[in-house]
């Protein structure tokens, strides 16, 4: 659905996006992670034909972003939720959506039906005649989501849709994204929220001007961070550690009464480690297996890219 090949954007001497190459499949939720200034918003803006590319190519369906004739077709296929909601405060919720529906030349009947459907899904129907300026941040974000969907786009681009929202509003927005995912829409999601990316996205790309890595959340966790076994003991002292290091070849970190041990295959190594601790005189209180989070992966990759 989205094909990106060596896509580059320069602002004068500054390279904002450098040689991105990846695909996003139809119906996929693709998460784009990266620190501030990594080029996430610039990438979305290029894909939405809002700014030109400096090099490479990208296609949405059969249309290429660099071709003037194709850009109108691309903009008909997509919906955008920008990082700033950009609603008209003096128009009502209904008028905001109706204005956008008209710009997409969506027929009046289905347009009104969609407005009602999305406003009801987002618990905004009762406020349809209230001016957007009177809405809370969360309500505005939900209205911006409805605006991006009112013309039934095939692809939805979202730039940090839950940033600065309270937990309840963020959950509503996330649930709504999962709901539209079920409808088979392709979603391109820029986010800082790693937990959100892990829960919503089918695949994740980490960018820092260049694409650093790409894969499913599970693939990223498995490929980059070793699992760790955490063992809490009654007491930890130097002679015990020295004795244990002679029995266990793994890397051991000590934090108060806790041992954090790098393992490759927890199932086969953990019984040996526990036996060794007992042999060295340790009294085990608790054993936990730490599965690396996406945050661990993200921080490691971004750190390595510096």
């Amino acid at each position: 659905m989205i094909t990106i090949e060596n896509l580059t954007k320069k602002f004068g001497e500054v390279t904002a996006v450098d040689g991105l190459t990846f695909n996003v499949d139809e119906g996929e939720v693709f998460g784009f992670l990266g620190p501030n200034g990594a080029g996430k918003t610039t990438t979305i803006r290029m894909l939405c034909c809002l700014i030109s590319k400096s090099g490479g190519d990208a296609a949405i369906g059969d249309y290429h972003i660099g071709r003037a004739a194709d850009s109108l077709q691309i903009r008909k296929m997509i919906g955008l939720v920008p990082d700033n909601v950009g609603l008209y405060d003096d128009l009502t919720a209904f008028e905001n959506l109706d204005f956008y529906g008209k710009l997409y030349e969506f027929p009046e009947g289905p347009r009104r039906e969609n407005i009602e459907r999305f406003l009801k899904m987002l618990d905004l129907w009762d406020r349809k005649d209230a001016r957007a300026g009177s809405f809370s941040k969360g309500m505005k974000q939900k209205l911006a989501l409805a605006r991006a969907l009112v013309h039934e786009p095939k692809i939805l681009f979202m730039d940090e849709p839950t940033a600065n929202l309270d937990p309840e509003s963020a959950k509503t927005v996330r649930d709504f994204i999962l709901e539209i995912k079920k409808q088979g829409r392709t979603i391109f999601l820029n986010t800082h929220n790693l937990d959100e990316a892990q829960r919503i996205c089918d695949r994740i790309g980490i960018i820092k001007t260049k694409l650093l890595t790409i894969g499913t959340p599970a693939q990223l966790r498995e490929s980059l961070t070793k699992p760790k076994t955490e063992i809490r003991l009654a007491q930890v002292n130097e002679p015990f550690i020295e004795a244990l290091k002679k029995l266990v070849p793994n890397k051991i970190e000590v934090s108060e009464n806790k041992l954090i041990i790098d393992v490759r295959d927890p199932d086969s190594e953990n019984p040996n480690i526990i036996a060794a601790i007992t042999k060295a005189g340790g009294q085990i209180r608790e054993v936990t297996q730490n599965v690396p989070t996406l945050e661990d992966v993200y921080l490691q990759i971004v750190k390595e890219a510096k």
Partner: protein, 245 residues
């Protein structure tokens, strides 16, 4: 270019204008002053018959007619600046430009919204101006001075061309401004030449006859063409998103 798309933008902008009291007051106040206030001045002066003879009265009425050109230059600035800088402040340009609308359709929509209400207000006030002026000067002149060719040329050529000039200028100024009032104040610079023409008329340096008004309209048209090219160059989506905001 699809006019229907431009009209959707214009209708949205005009709906917003109607909900802003200060924009409504601006649209009503100046035409009211020109349409009713100036004839009232003629009436008060005319009541004292020694104050102005027929020739002097005609000269003043001619000069007053040019206020419609001034009004047509002032009013669109208020709306165009609000419309353009308002989009910047609300950060609504990005989602708007992501829709299937071309830059020129958006620009035309903004121009419609800033052009139609002021020009309508000016035309309505001109009816009051001409009617009241004739009513209150007929006893001195012995005939109805309006309508005449001068007024016709001002209303049909100078007014629309002045409005377009203001809109083009406002687009250029608004591209650099982040505050509506600042944009309006800076845009008001375009009105200075119009006031100079009025002053030159009042002190008798120029006579506002059909030929002079035609020349003024021609100069404004030339300026319109220049500003049209400059404003379309300014109003391009990449420029708007990367430099305007």
């Amino acid at each position: 270019m699809r006019i229907s798309k431009a009209w959707i933008v214009a209708a949205k902008d005009m709906t917003i204008f109607l909900r802003k009291k200060y924009l409504i007051y601006s649209l009503v106040a100046l035409p009211l002053i020109i349409g009713v206030g100036l004839p009232l001045v003629l009436h008060l002066v005319g009541a004292k018959k020694q104050a102005l003879n027929g020739t002097a009265l005609l000269s003043v009425m001619n000069a007053f007619s040019f206020f419609f050109g001034i009004g047509a230059a002032v009013l669109p600035i208020i709306l165009a600046s609000y419309s353009l800088v308002g989009e910047k402040i609300e950060k609504s340009l990005e989602p708007l430009l992501a829709t299937p609308i071309t830059d020129s359709e958006l620009l035309l929509g903004k121009a419609f919204a800033a052009f139609i209400p002021p020009v309508c207000a000016i035309y309505i006030s001109s009816i009051f101006f001409m009617g009241l002026s004739d009513l209150w000067t007929h006893n001195i002149l012995g005939y109805s001075y309006f309508p005449n060719w001068n007024m016709g040329l001002i209303l049909l050529a100078v007014v629309p061309l002045s409005a377009l000039l203001s809109i083009g200028w406002s687009i250029i100024v608004s591209s650099r401004a982040t505050d509506i009032r600042a944009a309006q104040l800076q845009s008001m610079l375009i009105v200075i030449p119009f006031f100079m023409i009025y002053v030159l008329t009042e002190i008798g340096t120029i006579t506002l006859d059909t030929r002079t008004i035609g020349i003024i309209a021609g100069v404004i048209l030339a300026a319109d063409i220049i500003l049209f090219f400059l404003s379309t160059k300014t109003f391009q989506r990449e420029e708007i998103l990367t430099k305007w905001t």
